[in-house]
Amino acid sequence: MERKVVITGMGIWSCLGKTLEEVRDSLYTGKSGIIFSQERKDAGFRSALCTNVERPDLKPFLARNLRQFLPEEAQYAYIATRDALENAGLDQDYLNTHEVGILYGNDSTAESTMHALDKFREFKDTAACGSGAIFQSMNSTITMNLACLFKLRGINLTASGACASSSHAIGLAYLLIRDGLQDCIICGGAQEANMYSVASFDGLQAFSVRENEPEKASRPFDRDRDGLIPGGGGATVILESYESAVKRGAPILGEVVSWGFSGNGDHISTPNVAGPARSLELCLKNGGIDIRQIGYINAHATSTRAGDGREAQAIAQIFGDYKVPVTSTKSQTGHEMWMAGASELIYSMLMMKNNFIAGNLNFENPDDETACINIVPETREAHFDMFLSNSFGFGGTNSTLIVKNIASK
């Protein structure tokens, strides 16, 4: 028998805030997290736009020998997870006595790998890399660290699916809980925000060069979009079986009702319409959801010419005459990449729980491809009880999640 999978906790560390309340307010007021970085310009970036993500101080929580294993992205993941566990009412005693898993999205550890190998090459000695280097430079660094720090004894796995990584992680966790293999899984995604992690990406000329107007640079679906802005941080959601949540009197915030996914089988970086459309279609079909039940779509749209246009076409193809409200929160956050699936689920949850849709910043004019969908340009009060969140990535990997509201007690 399939079990109901609910969300019982959320935690986030992003350019929009370090608590759920701060992020909610930033979404509502249309705050932009995007800045110009002189450091990147001086270093030779074509686009020096990025987001303003503060590094958390973990000294109060973790001894030096434990922090030594945590690269930037794992620091974000740790602080977001602490908050999510607290939000879910899960303390260390519970984690010690129950089988709780972790399934997190991550797809790079560039800076830590670079630093370790720089030391190795400088001193021609492998010991010069330091004790943390191996644990910091593996792609599973977040799950390996957090599983040890929180003493987790359930599934321990990193999902790497490019910019859909954490959406896939949530989808997989949903399946494991639905099918009775796990009762509770810490899910999420984190993204290193340092310049080394995206230097080669900048080299592809994929980033916006609207450097004189950082807050206007991320403009998903707008006619004058000219590229994405790389972001970062960490976002954690606690997924749990409904029975488990009720048994321990946990806050039930929402229900993950379906996951859909697909591969484009096409170009490594150029998206198409058919792949995303199949992800949307499969997600709706798997959950037995009628399109008119969806009150809001959080689009993947990153502010690139090709990506936004194809996604708009895919949404229009599946939703037809039903003009569901669509926005891309990347207009505020830039592209949070490995973190985006999880952070955007949280952004959408905050909107759903607080009865608003955050406006798609800088959407002034559609173009021929994006005119087919209903993009909400300014924040508006809105009640909806179900949303759909898209995440797509390099290699043509697509993931779609649908979440239903559950009224707070």
């Binding site: 000294k59 001894a63 030096r64 020998n65 030594q68 030391k119 001193f123 000695d125 010991a127 010069a128 890399c129 330091g130 004790s131 943390g132």
Partner: protein
């Protein structure tokens, strides 16, 4: 570099790296215990001495370094070479 200068610098670097109070690093104190070093973080001690003094401490020599005095002696003798 005089021995006093070595002691001052070593204590400063280790206190910062391993986040301990500098006044706990007395000459007779045990290095591993004072700095809370386990088998992994011992690698960091080797790395920081190497980065600061360009001296590589082989594992066989590391075993003989028990107290901070042993460490100062090791650095002083190898700097002189």
């Amino acid at each position: 570099m005089t021995r006093d200068e070595i002691i001052k610098q070593v204590n400063g670097v280790l206190a910062e790296e391993f986040e301990v109070e500098e006044n706990t690093l007395s000459p007779e104190a045990n290095v591993k215990e004072t700095l809370s070093l386990d088998s992994l973080s011992l690698v960091d001690l080797v790395a920081i001495i190497q980065q600061t003094y360009k001296i590589k401490i082989p594992v066989t020599d590391l075993r003989s370094i028990q107290t901070f005095n042993d460490l100062y002696n090791y650095i002083e003798s190898h700097l002189a070479q």
